[in-house]
């Protein structure tokens, strides 16, 4: 996944990164512990040149149902809350980009997973593509899924 987004160099072959903008949310959340959830998300939105107005950030946090923690510092948030704040970045996206998500459902509860799946569904509707890794089975009704099973070394639709 790191190779896919361009963080690591491929051992063989080439990846054309100019073809699509990518949004990568890795295993580490990239949230600064000393900032509030709102500030941390706003920094990431600003860094990536996305909409970073205060009310847009609030709306994104609300979408992931962590608006009540938005003024608390990231240090005081639980793993699940941190994951939600990190994933709130997806709610700021409105382009048909390629999302690369490394274990997005990690530390999320069932409600959190549903919200993320809804965001993914919305993204697919605007012709976006998502590559994600997960050890939790999930389903997205009405969308073509390509499953790569790394243990069994198989790919099936």
């Amino acid at each position: 996944m790191r190779t896919l987004v361009g963080l690591s160099r491929p051992e063989a072959g080439e990846i054309d990164h100019a073809a699509a903008t990518t949004v990568y949310i890795g295993h580490s959340t990239a949230l600064k512990e000393d900032l509030s959830a709102h500030e941390a998300l706003q920094f990431l939105a600003r860094l990536h040149g996305r909409d970073h107005r205060a009310d847009s950030i609030d709306a994104a946090l609300q979408r992931l149902q962590v608006q009540q923690s938005s003024r608390r510092s990231v240090r005081t948030l639980s793993q699940g809350q941190r994951r939600r704040v990190a994933l709130a970045r997806l709610a700021l996206e409105d382009q048909p980009a390629l999302w690369v998500l490394d274990e997005p459902f990690d530390a999320l509860d069932a409600t959190g997973m549903d919200i993320v799946l809804q965001l993914i569904g919305g993204h697919l509707l605007r012709q976006g593509a998502v590559v994600l890794s997960s050890h939790i089975p999930f389903s997205l009704p009405g969308t073509p899924l390509l499953v790569l099973d790394l243990d069994a070394r198989t790919a099936h639709a």
């Binding site: 987004v5 963080l7 690591s8 580490s28 990239a30 600003r46 860094l47 040149g49």
Partner: protein, 223 residues
Amino acid sequence: MLDSSFALILLRDLRLAARRRIEVLLPLVFFLVASSLFPFGVGPEPQTLREIAPGIVWVCALLSAMLSLTSLYGGDHADGTLEQMLLSRRSLTLLAGGKALAHWLLTGLPLLLLAPLLGLLFGMSSASIGVLTLGLLLGTPILSLLGGIGAALTLGLRNGGVLVLLLVLPLCIPVLIFGAGAVTAAEAGLPVQGHLSLLAALLLLCLLGAPLATAAALKISVD
């Protein structure tokens, strides 16, 4: 303005520092304590102290600038922010420049304010203190810029903290020579312009080259 890569990182780092004031004060306290140890070690002879004062202040400034280097990119590397910086379509060179300026504002600038105080403590003349401060003004940004390269190169290594010292300290020797040399020349009544010009030239060179080198080193470290 707020959205330029340079200002974005600069303001974020300053805001983070404001939330961790104690950590910001530590290098300064180190600077004060380390330099005030010398009179105990060398003896309270005013003449000797006056002679070695420029060297002491410069060496302690150098070491205290090195203290905070490991955390310069370490935090961003550990929590994944660095990956996001690399992935954003922003200039990594400008981001590195912003980081270096933030580091200087937090470690170099306070030293400039403390140095005259130490100069008085060691009985330096006011003219020498002026030259010392001017030298530090030109020299401490070089330490932050070179330190950035070292910090970026040693990211993710187990003994990064020590390694960064071994990498950066030798590079800082010219700064030390010309910085302390300027004060010694001032004390001897010789012109100091040559020393300060060389420091300024080093600063310009680092301003142009160090952010580029840091950006390249960051890319390698994250790979």
